[in-house]
Every structure is written in structure tokens, then in C-alpha cells.
């Protein structure tokens, strides 16, 4: 402590005694671990979130997202690891002193208090005068577009309104860190969409460091600066939506984020093949492997069209499916049925048409096959 003060005095900057990542990032999780008996809920998780940044914790149900968030808020004691905010180790600090807003999956509104009192709950803890409390609560409710609902009880609100009250209750304190646990999962599709944008906008305007837990990839892609993909208590990859989508680091990430074709590959004397057709790919690991190919990175072509450097797989168009904003063609090939996105404006092939699929070797990703 003294050391760091001295260092700051001398050069007018923060001391450089810690790794630079930890120094720059606002919220840092190091080796966070939680076990429940035999189950490892969170396995030595590392994560660094910049000030004002919004990071999604994306992963399937049961992968340890909630446990991570609860450890962050101090609601669960980790078995190992540290939680640091603004270079301050909070691991041993009790929840009420952490200054972290938490929006629970269940909203957790106080049923015995009206909406205004719910929102003002934390302000009262900070010893703020009643009139000021009321004013700020009204302001926060206006922020989430719930002006006029002050006197209602939580049970008199719809799910979406309750969720916004929970958000207002957390935001009114201007917390250092905002934690959202599947906060939109109970809403209907339309409300979810508008809430996504509202929360994103509020988060940006207030520049609150945010960790957003979700199992919904659209939510993760639209709401956050970066995405951390979680599986079985670990972060498998962290990066921007583009990075995660275009260059998945692991087989799990490739399969979990976005639609993708999985093509089993075989090895022969000359290299790899899919259903007997030779395939070229980059970054191929040892052992049995599968090729992962995004539907929009595969081109539909006539059988007569030359392949050039691209991989080529012949097939028969089975069906074209219109999915709202685009069309997808299901193509039966020697390597199984593949989904191919139809380029905008391109004519759909007739059902049963004989076609070819083309893709550049570098667009596909190859990962070792998991034992079934």
C-alpha cells in the first residue's frame, strides 16, 4: 500500500508491480474455483474486464455461470482464487461492502415493499435522506421507462416490468460493477429484444463494468463488447463476437455459438477426405477430426463450375427453408446433410437439383473428435 502510494507520487502513474493485464482491467478474476462435492462448478476461472466494458458469460445450463457471478458478489465463498476490482482484492470482503449491482434471475424484488421502496432500498442503506431517495428512485425508474409505477407492489407487475425494477434497483446505486444473471430469460421474445437494447444503452451511457450471464447466444452477441464462452466450469474462449464466431478456439465454441455444419473427416494416404472426397483444411490436429463449416461460408454452385483452389463437395438440394431474414438450403452430400445459406438475391435451387458446394480451405475449422 505504502509502496504503491510512493510510486504514484514519483511518476504520477500507477505502480507497475503487477502484470499489466491485471493493472489495466477493472474487474479481475484469478483462478476462481468452486466445488460441490464431486462436481466442480467453476474450475480455476480467469477473466479480466475493462472499466465500462460489458462482457457476456455465455454457456450451456449448468456450466457454472451463476456460481461464478455469486462468487463475484460474495454470495458464495470460492474454494480458491481471487476477485479484484480496481486493484482492490475483494475476495474476503462481505457482499454488502462490494458495491456490485446484482440482477437476479428470479428478480428477487421485495414483495413487502412497493416499487419505489424497492428501488430506494440501497439508497436507504447509504443513509441518503428520504426526499433525495425518492427523487433518485423516480429518476432510476424513468431510466427503465417505469415512471408512474412507484406505488405498485411487485406482484402487480408483469415479468418484464419486474425485471426493469430489479435493474433500476441495482442501477440507482451506480455500482462499480453490474452483474446480470439470465436477466432476460423469462421475458417474451419482443420484450426481450427491446430490453436488450435498453440495457445495452444504459450500460454504455453509465459506463458500468458489466458481466452478463446468459445461455442465449443472440443476447451475448448483441449486448456485449466481448464474449467469454464457458463450458464445464471453464472459459473456453474469450473475444469479440466476431472472433468467437469466425475463429472458434475449441470444438465446443464452434458448436455452441452460431449455426455450423459438422462434417466427419477420414484420413487416407493422400490426406483428409469427407465421404471419400478429398478435402483440404488448415490447422488439423492429430487423431480423428471433424470439419466445422459455417452455413454462410459455403457457396452453392452448378456442378459444371470449376472449383479452383476451393474444396468441392457434390450434392443434391433436398429442400430450401425460408427462415425469416434469409433462406437456407439443405443439401445431401456424400458427407451427410449440410446446411448452406443462400446468398442474398440468389435464386433457390429447385428441390432435387444436382449442385456442388464450394468453400475455401481456410474458412473451415478442424477440431479433434470427441469420444462419443
Amino acid at each position: 500500500m505504502e509502496q504503491s502510494l510512493a510510486a504514484r507520487d514519483h511518476c504520477g502513474q500507477r505502480p507497475l508491480k503487477q502484470p499489466s493485464l491485471a493493472l489495466m482491467a477493472h474487474l479481475v478474476l484469478t483462478g476462481l474455483t468452486k466445488r460441490y462435492g464431486q462436481t466442480v462448478a467453476v474450475a480455476s476461472l480467469d477473466l479480466a474486464v475493462e472499466r465500462g466494458e460489458s462482457v457476456a458469460l455465455l454457456g450451456p445450463s449448468g456450466c457454472g455461470k451463476t456460481t461464478t457471478l455469486r462468487m463475484l458478489a460474495g454470495l458464495i465463498a470460492p474454494d480458491a482464487g481471487r476477485v479484484t476490482v480496481a486493484d482492490q482484492d475483494l475476495t474476503q470482503v462481505p457482499t454488502h461492502k462490494r458495491d456490485m449491482g446484482y440482477v437476479f434471475q428470479s428478480y428477487a424484488l421485495f414483495p413487502h415493499l412497493d416499487v419505489a421502496a424497492n428501488v430506494a432500498f440501497g439508497l436507504a442503506e447509504r443513509g441518503i435522506a428520504r426526499s433525495e431517495r425518492d427523487r433518485r428512485a423516480r429518476e432510476a425508474l424513468a431510466l427503465v421507462r417505469l415512471a408512474g409505477f412507484e406505488g405498485r407492489r411487485p406482484r402487480e407487475l408483469s415479468g418484464g416490468q419486474q425485471q426493469r425494477v430489479a435493474l433500476a434497483r441495482a442501477l440507482v446505486l451506480r455500482p462499480q460493477v453490474l452483474l446480470l444473471d439470465e436477466s432476460l430469460s423469462n421475458l417474451d421474445a419482443r420484450l426481450r429484444e427491446s430490453m436488450r437494447h435498453e440495457i445495452r444503452e444504459i450500460q454504455r451511457n453509465l459506463a458500468i463494468t458489466t458481466l452478463f450471464v446468459t445461455h442465449d447466444q443472440t443476447e451475448a452477441l448483441t449486448m456485449c463488447d466481448r464474449i467469454a464462452v464457458m463450458n464445464r466450469g471453464r472459459i473456453e474462449q474469450i473475444g469479440t463476437a466476431r472472433e468467437i464466431y469466425d475463429t472458434p478456439a475449441t470444438r465446443f465454441v464452434a458448436g455452441f455459438v452460431g449455426r455450423i455444419n459438422t462434417i466427419p473427416l477420414a484420413r487416407d494416404a493422400t490426406g483428409l477426405n469427407a465421404g471419400g472426397i478429398a478435402i483440404r483444411a488448415h490447422g488439423v490436429p492429430d487423431g480423428p477430426v471433424d470439419l466445422f463449416l459455417r452455413p454462410q461460408l459455403v457457396a452453392l454452385a452448378a456442378r459444371s463450375e470449376p472449383a479452383g483452389d476451393a474444396n468441392r463437395l457434390e450434392g443434391v438440394a433436398a429442400r430450401t427453408v425460408f427462415v425469416g431474414d434469409r433462406s437456407e438450403v439443405l443439401v445431401d452430400t456424400a458427407a451427410g446433410r449440410l446446411v448452406v445459406e443462400l446468398a442474398p438475391g440468389a435464386p433457390a435451387p429447385a428441390d432435387g437439383a444436382e449442385i456442388a458446394l464450394l468453400w475455401a480451405p481456410e474458412t473451415g475449422r478442424v477440431f479433434a473428435r470427441e469420444d462419443a
Partner: protein
Amino acid sequence: MNTGAGASRSLAFAAAGVIGLLLAPVVVVVVISFSADSFIVFPPSGWSLRWYERLLSHRPLMAGLQLSATVAAFVAVLSLILGLPAALALARGNFPGREALRAFFLAPLLLPTLVLGLALLLAFQPFGLIATLPGLVLAHLTVTLPFVVRMMATNFATLPDDLEAAAATLGAPPLRVFFRVTLPLAAPGLAASGALAFLLSFDETVISLFVSGPRASTLPVEMVRYVEGRTDPMIAALSTVLVCGTLAVAVAVERMIGLTRAVGR
């Protein structure tokens, strides 16, 4: 479909029959309480309120009523105050031996009250607690506390998830969480527990017989004494008053949380 309806109808008849059977003695008592006869005769040959008037001027029974009400009030309040921390520990605490403690709190429920009464008599004698207000209160607490602890523990355990956690994330230290969230939400259940403790104490007879004395006797003890000597409709009048009182408390509790939820686990 038809057989199902028939079955449910015969079930309803059976239920009505059982309830009728249970209530019949009460009805008889209420009817007799308005009797004009000097002895218990059913049906009475005439009607009057004379036994109610007689009851009001009967010193020992009125003194018993007053004592019982006082004891029950103390027992209810003390059950809540003493039971609250235990209930919280049972519902929230995560300590070794929690199950053993839970079993311990259930144990007196299974002990024959006769044995408990004798034990209390032996234990209280040296301290001069027999036939005193503190002695009676203490004795009744041994009966009510396990009930109240168990009821309140259930009450705390069934509070909605995450509310206390939410209060903590909003900056409330543990004690403030308790007073601002836990207690208000548990209040109806606590009131019901208090009411139950009151009724249990008021109704307690066997243990009271052991620890009462000429100096201080609760109402049930006085009633037993009275009935030993003679049988006239006055005791029916008293019973009617007690039934009404108990019913009033039960209705109040039902209003607050629902009796089934209060007693159920």
C-alpha cells in the same frame, strides 16, 4: 365418469359423517350451556343464561381463567423470543450436528406429557417454582418451544430465494437484512407461531396438574377440580366460551397465513 362422481359423492358423505361425529359433542355442550336445569340433562327442559351468570361470579374458575391467560401471554411472547434464534439457526445455519439439533427440538413432542409433568415437578420443587407464574410459564415453554421453533424454521426456510442476497448486494449488512427483509416477510408466520403457543399453553392440562397448586391453578386444572365435585351446566357454559375463544384465535391466524400452512411442514 359416473362411478367417479358417485365415489366422490359417497366420500363427501363419509367426510360429512365424520365431521358430524366430531362436532356432535361440541354441539351437545353448547346446547346444554343454555339450559335452565340444575343438572346436566339432554335435551334441556328449559332455556336460560343462568349458568353463564353463575360462571362470571365463580371466583376459582375466574381466577384460573385470568392466570391461564396471563401464563399463555407470557408463554407466547417468550416462545417467540427464545424460539427465533433457534429457528434461524436451524433454517439457515450450516453447522455440524444440525440434524441432531433438529431431532432434539422434536423430542419433547414425542415424550409422554405425564412423564414430562413428573420430571418438571421434581425439577421445580427445590427452586420453589411449583404453583408460581414463572414455574407455569417455564413448564409450558417445554411444550410450546419445540412447536414454535419447528414452525418458525419452516417459515424461514420457505421465504423466497435470493431476497436476502439481494438486500446484501444493495449494501445492507446482515443485521439490517434481517430487520428490513427477513423479519417483515416472516412476520405473519411468527404471529401464527405466537398464537399457536398461546393456545397450546392455554389448553395445557397434564403438565399444569403437576406444577399447579392451591396458590395458583390454571383454568384447565380448576375445571378438572370442579368436575370432580359436581356436574352442572356451568362447565358447559365455560366450555362454550373456550370454544369461541379458540375459534377466534384460529380464524385470526387463518386470516394471517392460512392454518394449514402454519402447522404443515
